[in-house]
């Protein structure tokens, strides 16, 4: 049981390049999330998904796109990377809100630098 995994762990891009970050979870969770973490800013939600084939915008969606073609995977795309997107990206997953709550489980993170 690997939990939530993210690929890659590190990446350096040049301005204007594109890339896709992959998140996978093996907990059969319906909900998945992408956050970015910047110093002094806490975690900010980029996009999220409440089920296969559905996505929604979070607090800071501009410059990112997402897809959830399979329940276990959630992809985050940067079409044209900018230095402002230098950050650490975390993926998380959760079950729908139930009597145990909707605790989110986090992946190890992807450290992205855009030059």
């Amino acid at each position: 049981n690997a939990g939530v995994t993210q690929t890659p762990k590190f990446r350096v891009l040049k301005t204007g390049q594109s890339m896709t970050l992959l998140c996978a979870q093996d907990m059969n969770h319906e909900y998945m999330y992408w956050y970015r973490q910047d110093p002094g800013m806490g975690l900010r939600l980029i996009h999220y998904s409440v089920g296969e084939g559905t996505t929604a915008k979070g607090e800071v969606p501009d410059g990112y796109n997402v897809s959830r073609l399979k329940k276990q995977n959630f992809l985050l795309g940067l079409e044209s990377a900018a230095p402002s997107q230098t950050s650490v990206y975390f993926c998380a997953s959760s079950a729908p809100l139930g009597f145990l709550g909707d605790e989110q489980f986090f992946g190890p993170g992807t450290r992205l630098t855009v030059l």
């Binding site: 909900y31 806490g42 975690l43 999220y48 975390f90 809100l97 709550g101 909707d102 989110q104 986090f106």
Partner: protein, 109 residues
């Protein structure tokens, strides 16, 4: 719009002493989570608080929730170096969690 505020944002602690971190939120919610993050690492779940008056304890950490005051506290008893980390509270809102900015704890001998 739900806002979550933690204080203090930085806390330098002496070993053996007790401290409290506060998490205030602006609108009604009945679920609150505490996470720990070590430098360069991911977030690890510490506590799940789902009702008014909920209290959870794990080792030297104890978390409580007062939904009427919109306040959660994380109490540290007899701090030790291993507790040095950043602690986040997160409040449930409309299917998502809103995170505080985190409290960076540093325990000095």
């Amino acid at each position: 719009e739900l806002k979550v505020e933690q204080n203090p944002l930085f806390l330098s602690m002496q070993e053996g002493k007790n401290y409290t971190i506060y998490c205030n939120y602006s609108t009604t919610s009945d679920r609150l989570y505490w996470y720990r993050q070590d430098p360069g690492k991911s977030l690890e779940s510490l506590f799940v608080l789902l009702s008014n008056g909920a209290v959870k304890q794990e080792g030297r950490l104890m978390a409580s929730l007062d939904t009427k005051a919109r306040l959660s506290t994380l109490h540290i008893t007899a701090a030790v170096h291993d507790l040095s980390a950043t602690y986040f509270c997160a409040v449930g809102s409309q299917g998502n969690l809103i995170f505080g900015k985190g409290t960076k704890l540093s325990v000095k001998p």
